[in-house]
């Protein structure tokens, strides 16, 4: 349980004169739910984008499962087992829910042009397996009845679930969720919490960016706090909650005032 899955070494990223990330190092252990919190603009999503290869960090690197992660290669990050969702949901809007997940299987399947044109037994078997897995995942996240709806016509909460299902289709070892509870009501958030706990129980490590402090504190094993691109705290939730630097970052003002 305590082996290291992800190590971020001194990650730095700036846009023009703005330092979005400054020397951020953190370690995520296999099997845990790790929370990344911080005020708006603290650099949480930038960290995600660096990790998943959408941005190239200016400094530092990531070690994943004991090996260095190549920069600037999102599909390689996915190949290694890092899947993500987006803060502003990015589904394939004009494809059905099932097709969205089927695309997610791209990485773990092989059929090429020749297979597609000839439709040999192997390709057909693969297609059947892809469709079956898609249906399993739809049921897993609880939207089986929406399989044939276009993704863009799904209710908001279901879109979030579908995005998680699509990420799970890539068979990740680390699932990165970028504010999955944003815009959800209390019931939906509670359901989401059950889903995330289930994902962890099924063996996937979870990295969670979230604003809902209650959710993070209740769900995460450990939490890191970013403020102005710097990690100001990393510990178990109960300790983080009482950390003066964290309180200052969230509530403003200085402790001696």
């Amino acid at each position: 349980m305590s082996s290291t899955l992800l190590e971020a070494h001194h990650i730095g990223k700036h846009f023009g004169g703005v330092s979005a990330l400054r020397d951020v190092s953190l370690t995520i252990r296999t099997g845990e739910i790790y929370g990344l919190i911080g005020p708006n603009g603290a650099g949480k999503t930038t960290f995600f984008n660096c990790l998943t290869g959408l941005y190239v960090p200016d400094r530092g690197d990531f070690g994943f499962d004991g090996q260095l992660l190549a920069a600037n290669a999102p599909h390689q990050a996915a190949q290694r087992g890092i899947a993500r969702t987006f803060q502003n949901i990015r589904l394939f809007g004009n494809m059905s829910a099932r097709e969205n997940i089927m695309v997610g299987r791209h990485l773990r399947t092989r059929a090429g042009v020749l297979g597609a044109v000839l439709r040999d037994t192997r390709t057909r078997a693969e297609e059947t397996a892809i469709a079956r897995r898609a249906d399993e995942l739809l049921a897993y996240v609880g939207i089986a009845d929406r399989a044939d709806h276009l993704a863009k016509h799904l209710p908001y909460g279901d879109q979030r679930r579908l995005e998680i299902a699509r990420a799970l289709a890539t068979e990740p070892r680390l699932l990165c969720l970028d504010e999955p509870a944003a815009g959800m009501n209390a019931t939906e958030t509670a359901e989401l919490r059950v889903l995330i706990e289930g994902i962890r129980a099924d063996g996937t490590t979870v990295l969670l960016i979230e604003h809902d402090v209650k959710l993070v504190m209740g769900l995460c094993d450990r939490v890191a706090v970013l403020d102005y691109g710097e990690k100001i705290c990393e510990d178990i939730p109960s300790v983080v909650q009482k950390d003066p630097a964290v309180i200052e970052a969230y509530l403003g003002g200085s402790p001696d005032a």
């Binding site: 993500r84 494809m95 695309v103 276009l150 016509h153």
Partner: protein
């Protein structure tokens, strides 16, 4: 999963096959010119389906598609004409033409991988023009393409001992040159349609669609967008190359003039007008835009003579007028094309929930 066709679609297929068999004979009753028009219509189907892979499936706007057609035509012409004294057989040239066009497709694709929409359109437009200008000027210092004069006396297609040029007779059955090309073209077009249909509903087809929808998300779930986009360019281009080869053989003469920007726009219009990404729609669009101008050409002059006693408007300029109007009307009233796929209709429909 469906393993065999329903009786209804079997009946439909038999009817289509019957129509395809009868068509060249019906057309011939109006003169061989109509059979040639038919041949060109199928050639355009071929091209539109090739472009549909790039534009319809992968969502990459390509305004220089005709360049690949040109490359295929020149490959055929150079390898089967007195120009270099080469007379290779068709089964050797067409794959080479497809391969060379495919290389050019990747040549265009590689530098444009990061471009989308308008920017991509401008670069591809430039690429198409570059190819045409090259063809126009590659007659010095070494004469490769014979410049603006074009290449003449290109070998017709020969299948074994059968030449597709001129009339052949088998007992009571007599087939003219254009009729024989028709059957070759229809056979190839069916192959292309099947390839297209199967690609669309495959792992690759879904990846193309994903890139069209959201490239960042496609990357994030592990699609190698570079390779998948290059594949779209390469496949589209190789279909263009094959079409070009047959065009060269059928015409016997090619010059850079045949591969102008207007042609690229025309093929794109076929794809858009018919229904982007929907194969039956694209075929319909191609047939319509290829045949309609010819019908106009034959109908307009007599009609004007009957009405006004003289020809007031040149059919050629009228053609562009009708064309423009048709495009505007279609885009205004049927933005998904004349025959869109059911999914695309759904996309544009209002959400009723």
């Amino acid at each position: 999963m469906k393993t065999w066709l329903s009786p209804r679609s079997t009946a439909g297929l038999i009817m289509i096959a019957g129509a395809l068999l009868a068509l060249p004979f019906l057309a011939a009753s109006g003169g061989q010119a109509w059979v040639r028009i038919l041949d060109f219509a199928i050639l355009y189907v071929f091209l539109a389906l090739g472009l549909n892979i790039v534009v319809g499936f992968a969502g990459l706007l390509d305004l220089g598609y005709i360049a690949f057609y040109g490359v295929g035509a020149y490959v055929y012409a150079l390898l089967a004409s007195p120009h270099f004294g080469l007379h290779w057989p068709i089964w050797a040239i067409l794959p080479i033409g497809a391969f060379v066009a495919c290389l050019f497709g990747m040549l265009l694709g590689a530098p444009t991988l990061k471009l989308r929409g308008d920017y991509l359109a401008i670069v591809t437009l430039g690429f198409g023009e570059i190819i045409r200008i090259f063809l126009n000027n590659l007659d010095a210092p070494v004469n490769i393409t014979n410049g603006a004069l074009g290449l003449n006396l290109i070998d017709p297609v020969r299948l074994g001992s059968l030449s597709l040029a001129g009339t052949s007779e088998w007992g009571a059955l007599s087939l003219s040159g254009p009729q024989k090309y028709y059957f070759l073209l229809v056979t190839l077009a069916i192959v292309v349609v099947v390839i297209n249909l199967r690609l669309q509903h495959s792992r690759i087809g879904r990846a193309w669609q994903a890139i069209r929808e959201d490239e960042v998300a496609a990357k994030a779930i592990g699609i190698n967008t570079r390779n998948i986009k290059l594949l779209a360019f390469a496949m589209g281009a190789s279909f263009g190359g094959i079409a070009g080869g047959i065009f060269a053989a059928m015409q016997g003469f090619i010059s850079p003039e045949s591969f102008s920007l207007t042609e690229s726009v025309m093929i794109l219009a076929m794809v858009v007008l018919g229904g982007m990404g929907h194969i039956p729609g694209v075929i319909f669009g191609a047939l319509l835009l290829a045949v309609l101008p010819e019908v106009l050409r034959y109908a307009v002059v007599p009609a004007q003579k009957a009405l006004f006693g003289s020809v007031l408007i040149d059919p050629e300029s009228l053609r562009m007028l009708v064309f423009g109007l048709a495009l505007v009307l279609v885009m205004r009233f049927r933005p998904a094309g004349l025959w869109p796929s059911p999914e695309r209709k759904r996309e544009l429909a209002e959400v009723s929930e």
